[in-house]
């Protein structure tokens, strides 16, 4: 849990302040885009902090295996 607090301390101000500034400037599209990218990163960091990281290479491997299984040849 300590690592989770450290994560919030490091990343939350960056994301929240930046998003707040973009909303203040009425750039809602930019805000949505910024939040989509940065919250994906934040989610991945959270998984690391919880000790259950999403291993990207494994995920890509599973996607390729699923595509191979769907392919007719």
């Amino acid at each position: 849990m300590k690592r989770m607090w450290l994560l919030y301390l490091a990343l939350a101000p960056l994301i929240v302040l930046q998003a707040a500034w973009l909303i203040y400037k009425n750039r809602f599209r930019d805000t949505a885009l910024f939040l989509a990218v940065s919250l994906t990163g934040f989610g991945m960091w959270s998984a690391v902090a919880y000790g259950r990281p999403v291993i990207l290479n494994t995920v890509i491997g599973r996607i390729i295996e699923a595509m191979k299984a769907l392919a007719p040849f």
Binding site: L11, L14, I15, Q18, L22, K25, R27, R29, D30, L33, F34, V37, S38, T40, G41, F42, M44, W45, A47, V48, P53, V54, I55, L56, N57, T58, I60, G61, I64, M67, K68
Partner: protein, 225 residues
């Protein structure tokens, strides 16, 4: 925008970053004294992929692959852009992790033990080490730039620098989670690199080369009709 000369240098450094230095041990391990032929053989197949890219870019001069995909496939082209964004982010994360692993292996353990400047310089025992770090760093910067430009062309944000920060958060997280250990990385790379590369480096450009003339011919017929 960058010039053609910049693009050439960045591409050459990008290719050298990991290909020449990281794969050399693997090649010698696999082929022994015949290892010299492997880069030539691999280079030929990459030249074929490069020809597809040239042909694709000639269908719409001055436009990026993301813009070409949007013109050819409409809303489905946005998905291609998102796919390329993901590819750039994943490869950038992989490069960052490589850089981190490489520094851990070569420099950091000795720096922790010996902090005097002279000893650190001695411990960086080869010019190759410095070149390697520089080349991987260039590769990382090229990928970050590519991801940043893809975001710009896909979504056309009015302010661009916040997205650079968002990409920084995403890529740093990706670097931690790209693989668990180098052995797992090697196994997954051996198994999946070819189909993974073929999709974004060959399949999509070939499909775009085929569909662009068909789309233009259909548009011309509609205009005449």
């Amino acid at each position: 925008m960058i010039s053609r000369g910049h693009y050439y240098l960045l591409t050459v450094n990008y290719a050298l970053g990991t290909t020449l230095f990281v794969t050399i041990n693997v090649m010698i391990g696999e082929a022994g004294p015949d290892a010299w032929i492997m880069p030539l053989w691999a280079g030929l197949s990459v030249l074929l992929a490069a020809l597809f890219w040239i042909a694709m870019l000639r269908t719409s001069p001055g436009r990026s692959p993301v813009e070409i995909a949007r013109e050819a496939w409409g809303p489905a082209g946005v998905l291609v852009g998102i796919l390329y964004l993901a590819v750039f982010c994943v490869t950038a994360a992989w490069s960052l992790r490589n850089l981190s692993d490489f520094m851990n292996m070569t420099i950091m353990p000795t720096v922790v033990q010996e902090v005097e400047l002279g000893k650190v310089l001695v411990n960086i025992h080869s010019v190759l080490t410095v070149i390697m770090i520089t080349l991987i760093f260039i590769k990382l910067l090229v990928l970050l730039y590519a991801a940043f430009e893809t975001i710009g062309q896909l979504f056309r944000p009015s302010t661009r620098w916040p997205h650079l920060m968002a990409l920084g958060i995403l890529i740093s997280a990706g670097a931690v989670t790209i693989y668990e250990n180098p052995i797992q990385n090697r196994i997954l790379n051996d198994r999946y690199t070819l189909p993974y590369d073929c999709v974004y480096a060959v399949l999509i450009p070939v499909l775009l080369i085929i569909t662009m003339p068909i789309k233009r011919a259909a548009a011309g017929r509609t205009r005449r009709g």
